[in-house]
């Protein structure tokens, strides 16, 4: 039974409840919600009152889940970044909810910092060497840039938020990894401006307050193509210099290096099976154990793609499933227990696939060069976005 996060507010001062998100079963009816409110108010009053609820201005008559389905309210949002210099937020049904514009160049990577409640924080990394931290009010559907993270000397190709949601790491073409704070504040960090200003006026106005990195991790000899957090103290990065490095955030040093033979395009870590999956330009997906002390041991090699593997992602709930996207227009669903062939080949894209992801509920997403975002469900149905 799935749960929904809900907040209750009222203008009637008698029945004010704490403005905290509560986890409510999705199939709750009006009576159940009334009971919940009564329980919360038991401390204050003694009587049981029957309440009526309004969801987005509509009276709740049926169960919450059916109401939401009919009204088209979803709590799962999809964030996409595109080469048109914007990021967009979509619902799982495929309706665009918001366009996040502000970068001066192509948005290379996006990430949610936190998604619960009414305001969500999201990050966009771009070719213009900055990462913007945005605050999105889902109720009022407004987005505002809080911080502009400067510091990279090359296009920021990848970002990843740590499990606690307080920090994020970015990797860029200048071969560096930088750790930043993901908490929005009201201070601006000082950065050194170059001594002589260029003659040409900078057209870009800065969005948000400037932020500088907490830490810089250097060690790669070529561009960093993908970063992720293994846990809240370890960062794993894959790069064009054919290595995957694991860094310790506390000390800023490198813990392990896994060496491959070809450029790594993407990596993904699964805490369920504690394996790292990497996609390379030689069309293979390799599984590694990040805890190995000795050199590089490829545990498994999944081969089926006929082009560069540009994206891999482990399933959040399955220990053995992962989905991969490639330049050969295919998205493949793999089970690592049967490594000879993928479970499914999802051929929906007409052009190269650049990114794949999972939602909490097991929905697969993929986006590609044909400007489309596709969602797939395991039971082999798909919906276009």
């Amino acid at each position: 039974m799935s749960q929904i996060q809900a907040r209750f507010f009222t203008e009637d001062k008698r029945y004010v409840v704490d403005d905290v998100p509560f986890s409510i079963p999705a199939a709750s009816e009006v009576q159940d919600l009334s009971n919940v409110i009564n329980k919360l108010l038991e401390a204050k009053n003694g009587n049981k009152v029957d309440f009526d609820f309004l969801v987005r201005g509509q009276f709740l008559r049926t169960s919450l889940s059916t109401h939401m389905a009919t009204e088209g309210i979803s709590t799962v949002w999809i964030l996409t970044g595109s080469y048109d210099k914007t990021a967009r937020i979509w619902s799982t049904e495929g309706k665009p909810a918001m366009t996040v514009a502000g970068h001066t160049d192509v948005v290379k990577d996006v990430a949610w910092v936190k998604r619960e409640g009414l305001t969500s924080l999201l990050l966009t990394a771009s070719l213009d060497q900055t990462v913007l931290l945005w605050e999105w009010n889902s109720e009022r559907n407004k987005v505002k840039a809080r911080h502009c993270c400067r510091g990279h000397a090359g296009s920021v190709d990848t970002i990843s938020v740590d499990p606690t949601g307080t920090k994020f790491c970015s990797g860029s073409w200048d071969k560096m990894l930088k750790i930043w704070s993901a908490v929005p504040t009201d201070e601006q960090d000082e950065i050194e401006e170059p001594a002589d200003r260029p003659r040409k006026k900078q057209k870009t106005q800065q969005l948000g307050l400037t932020r500088t990195p907490l830490m810089t991790l250097s060690g790669h000899s070529e561009a960093v193509s993908s970063v992720l957090w293994c846990d809240s103290e370890e960062v794993c990065s894959a790069s064009w210099d054919h290595t995957i490095r694991i860094w310790d955030v506390d000390t800023g040093g490198m813990k392990t290096t896994l060496t491959g033979s070809k450029v790594f395009n993407c990596i993904s870590y699964s805490p369920l099976c504690r394996r790292l999956a990497s996609g390379s330009t030689d069309r293979h997906i390799r599984l590694w154990d990040p805890r190995t002390k000795d050199g590089s041991l490829v545990l498994l090699s999944l081969t089926s793609h006929t082009g560069w593997v540009t994206a891999v992602k482990w399933a959040p709930s399955h220990a053995h499933q992962l989905v991969s996207g490639s330049l050969d227009n295919l998205v493949k669903l793999w089970d690592t227990r049967s490594c000879k062939a993928p479970l499914y080949d999802l051929a929906a894209h007409e052009d190269k696939v650049f990114c794949v992801d999972w939602t909490e509920s097991g929905l697969m997403l993929s986006g590609g060069a044909d400007n489309k975002l596709y969602t797939y469900r395991y039971s082999a149905q798909q919906a276009e976005a």
């Binding site: 090359g154 073409w173 003659r199 040409k200 330049l327």
Partner: protein, 620 residues
């Protein structure tokens, strides 16, 4: 009355004078019968006595006896050689004592003697006598002679080896083939010449003919004439025997595969590009030239449709398009990693573009480089025909910064490794002002050459040392820029050089030519090519070296890019190892043109190729 004489076998003349002839058994004298017959009576008797022929005078008894018929018969039989006894049958059946039939009883049942089982006693006696005699020395045994040395003579012991060799080398003349059906006097009709064959036979040279004669048909052997070619044939045979030189051909038993040097297998020489990964589409005309940024993130391409496009390497997205208003012949990215500038050659102008595709610091330093003021110094001589100008207005927004106007059409621009100097080529057979070297920071241009040596095809700077390579149609000249003189002239065997590339180490040069050949020159080895590779079927349009990996590639009009491994060894004695490693096909041939330019990624073992089909392919 028994009158048989008992005197015995004595001559009867002894009793001539006596009246008796002998004595009978009783001892009484046997008186001679009265013989009163004289010669005449004998004669009359012979004539008239019918019994004369049977009358016999018995000397013993002295009487005449008349033989009876039986007795006469007996005499006759004896005279004939038959047996006397009439009743004797000389043809009695033989009684075989030793018959061929095996009888029950043997002829004799005498048991065998012991002497048939034991050695002969008589021989034993003889042998013992001989032995005794030998021991006593009466008989000397015959000694066996030793047939050892000295009985024969080694004919060839002192033979001369040259004579032996000549004998060994003797090759007998080939035997004359036995006559066949053609030589027959009455061959089957198919062996005779038809009219056409006859005409052909007469036309051909005597040396070319298969048969030295014309087959003839005669009905009988009598009609066969004398062979006219007899003496000629014998003469030819004699010439063959003693005049034709014959020599033993020493055939070397060599496997042809052993002669080919063992090259390492391509899979040992990984990494190299193998498959086409990305295609950059967007141009509408053939893409003549491509160049990768030193960081490896961007690819710039110039095409005949008048645009310069910037692509992101990893996603094949065209980030920027700059319309420059003329077919672009050559693009070259500034190799200095701290600036981001692109030189574009189109028509008779060279443009310097500053695409803002890099870090702000980099862009700043690019701007700084470009905007160096001349500080009032007058332009140097030789600068007259080349005009530098700054871009303004709309062109500035597009990214254009500087324009260098040349007197003629520019075919190629090339940067120096440090990124400050730029060389451009205006091919022209007649003038010596084909090559210009420009300095970006001071906006100066100069002609290094005072004499015309041929139509310049392409130029290149040496990556490390101050040398300058100029390729004309048939040779490559290397000039020392500091000493201002020509150091070397490399002779290629090609008719028309199309492109040239210098190894990052600086000691090797490859050049591709329109006659499908790629020559590798080792500058330390000689001025002739070290290796000529003929892998392509059509003209080679572009060649390139990889900056880090030991790879080089050639692009050709047959639509393929051939990537070869070329390791250069640090020790000067070992020649470079060249192994062709992969043929990459990714382009479609358009208007008989294939791949026009090829270049490697600066850090990864990837190769980019641009073709006449308006696409750029990335092979990884």
């Amino acid at each position: 009355l028994d009158i048989r004489n008992t005197v015995g076998n004595i001559p009867m003349e002894w009793y001539k004078d006596f009246p008796h002839i002998g004595y009978n058994l009783d001892g009484k004298k046997i008186y001679k019968p009265i013989r009163n017959k004289d010669e005449l009576d004998d004669f009359l008797d012979k004539m008239e006595n019918p019994e004369y022929w049977r009358t016999v005078h018995d000397k013993q008894t002295g009487s005449d006896v008349v033989l009876s018929d039986d007795q006469v018969e007996l005499v006759n039989r004896l005279q004939r050689g038959q047996f006397g006894d009439v009743n004797f049958n000389e043809c009695e059946p033989m009684v075989e004592f030793f018959s061929s039939d095996v009888m029950i009883h043997p002829v004799t049942n005498r048991p065998a003697d012991k002497r048939s089982f034991i050695p002969s006693l008589t021989e034993k006696e003889k042998v013992s006598k001989l032995v005794h005699a030998i021991k006593m020395g009466w008989i000397k045994p015959r000694r066996v002679e030793d047939d050892g040395r000295g009985r024969y003579y080694n004919l060839w012991a002192s033979e001369d080896s040259s004579i032996l060799a000549r004998h060994k080398m003797h090759l007998p003349a080939p035997k004359i083939p036995l006559p066949g059906h053609h030589e027959s006097y009455n061959p089957p009709p198919e062996y005779l010449f038809t009219d056409e064959e006859r005409a052909l036979w007469e036309q051909q040279d005597p040396a070319d003919r298969k048969l030295p004669f014309v087959p003839r048909k005669y009905s009988s052997l009598r009609q066969v004439p004398a062979f006219s070619q007899f003496i000629h044939e014998r003469f030819e045979r004699c010439l063959d025997l003693y005049l034709c030189p014959r020599q033993r051909k020493m055939r070397v038993n060599v496997n042809p595969e052993d002669l080919i040097p063992q090259l390492p297998k391509p899979k040992d020489l990984q990494p190299f590009p193998t498959t086409r990964s990305l295609v950059y589409r967007g141009h509408s005309g053939l893409v003549r030239s491509i160049s990768v940024s030193p960081s490896g993130q961007w690819l710039a391409s110039g095409s005949d449709d008048g645009s310069v496009r910037f692509w992101e390497v990893c996603s094949s997205r065209c980030m920027k398009t700059v319309q420059v208003g003329g077919a672009v012949k050559s693009v070259a990215w500034n190799p200095n990693p701290s600036v981001c500038l692109l030189a574009v050659a189109l028509d008779s102008v060279v443009l310097i573009l500053s695409p803002s595709l890099a870090d702000k610091q980099v862009i700043l330093s690019s701007e700084r480089l470009l905007s160096a003021q001349q500080e009032g110094e007058e332009p140097a001589e030789g600068n007259g025909s080349v005009v530098w100008s700054e871009a303004e207005g709309e062109e500035l927004n597009q990214g254009l910064r500087l324009k260098i106007q040349h007197p003629k059409a520019v075919h190629q621009v090339v940067w120096h490794a440090k990124g400050d100097y730029l060389a451009s080529v205006m091919p022209d057979n007649t003038s010596h002002l084909q090559v210009y070297i420009h300095q970006l920071s001071r906006r100066r241009s100069q002609n290094p050459f005072s004499r015309n040596k041929g139509l310049v095809q392409c130029i290149s700077f040496h990556p490390i040392r101050p040398y300058f390579f100029v390729a004309t149609q048939r040779s490559i000249r290397i000039y020392n820029l500091v000493k201002q003189e020509m150091t070397k002239k490399l002779q290629t065997n090609s008719k028309w050089i199309s492109s040239m590339a210098v190894h990052p180490g600086g000691d090797h040069v490859i050049c591709g030519s329109y006659d499908c050949k790629l020559s590798w020159f080792d500058l330390d080895l000689s001025t002739k090519p070290y290796k000529m590779l003929r892998h392509h079927k059509k003209a080679v349009r572009g060649v390139a070296y990889h900056r880090l990996y030991p790879l080089f590639a050639s692009a050709s009009d047959d639509g393929s890019v051939i990537v070869c491994h070329g390791t250069v060894y640090n020790d000067l004695l070992q020649n470079p190892l060249i192994v062709p490693v992969k043929v990459l096909r990714g382009h479609v041939m358009t208007h008989d043109l294939g791949v026009l330019d090829v270049t490697f990624h600066p850090t990864q073992p990837w190769v980019f190729s641009s073709g006449a089909d308006a696409t750029i392919c990335l092979f990884t």
